[in-house]
Amino acid sequence: MIVGAVALIVVNIIILSVNSSRYSSYESGRSTIFFIAPFQKTVTKSVQFLKNIWGHYFFLVSVARENDNLKKAINRAIDKNNKYREVEISNFRLRNLLNFRKTMTNQVLVAEVIGQDPSPWFKTIIIDKGKSDGVEKGLPVVVPEGIAGQVIDISYNYSKVLLIIDRNSAVDALVQRTRDRGLIKGESDGKCLSRYVLRKHDVKIGDIVVSSGLDGVFPKGLRVGYVTEIVKSNSGIFQEVTVMPYVDFEKLEEVLVVLDSPKHNFVSEQ
């Protein structure tokens, strides 16, 4: 029995060693593959299909969650970016205001625009500085670009400013080049009209108009606007000069209230 078993092992080893030295295919192997492979294929495909379903649909629950989180993160980043951009823009604006403030010898107060006139027919703004900050009725309001308006009403913490483009506003001004005087009045289309400019005066389109300081409100030499149109009618002693203000009143966000107006002289940046 033992001898038989040993002999069987030896024979087995010999056969294996002979077979391992060269690969040979048999008909039975081919047949087996022929019959089994389609099943294998089907099962493998099915497994892959199920795997795909799991991977692309069920597993997507977590992907969707991840997507939601990423979207939130992107929104937060966009929001943050927007805030930084806003801070950058306001930083630039405030630096501009600060530089302008340094050029003025007057005592000025920075105020923020918090509201506009409810009616399109009148041009006023509400600023966040009032009596408690030293603002008084009649004080001039300026921005780096030029004159903005005049305080017409005050409360303890807020004030109302009449813009120079309002039809009730009037600023005594002169043409910088020729020193010809006129009265700047607001017009309905956001422009101003320089009235009472004598016909004989040589005003040209593009001339800069500055405040004369003679109205006792605005400091002398502040820019008001530039001449865009001149109408000399056949009769009359005056010519009508249209002035486009330098200030963009649609975009006013911060303004300077001149607290000690006409007492000191204005030093121009130029």
Binding site: P120, F122, I126, R167, S188, D189
Partner: protein, 165 residues
Amino acid sequence: MTYCFYICVCLCLVIFQTTIIPHIPLFNNFYDLLIPFISYLGLFRPIRESILFILVLGFLMDNLSGGPLGLYVTTYFWLFIVVKSVIKYVHVNNILLLFIVAAGVLMENIIFIASISMLGPDSQFLAITVRTVIFQILWAGCTGFFFITIFNHIHKKLESWFVVY
């Protein structure tokens, strides 16, 4: 409760009108948002309840605006009276009332223009006036009735809640 509702609505409308609308280019020529509210009071609320509120509201707007004092008080008061007179002859559900806000806007503009015209001639005034008024009336015609409906709906809801609780 009614006055609280009035105050809240008006505060929201005034703030929206003076802070948000000026920054939206599409609404450059938008009409006074308090006109639908005054029209609503005229259409659905009794005189005794509304008249004092309207005068106070007009005074508030006069103080916010750069116009002559009393302009908004006058406008709102007469608008309220006109609406009250109209509903004596026209039923509240009449289709003509769709245009009540547009008519109110026109009335306000006529009063304002008359007041501004007293300041003297202005070369561009006519063109700008026509454009502004037309846009405002169009806006009012398209949206005014919705505002009135919303005010009425919210007020009724609030009243029913307060009756329940």
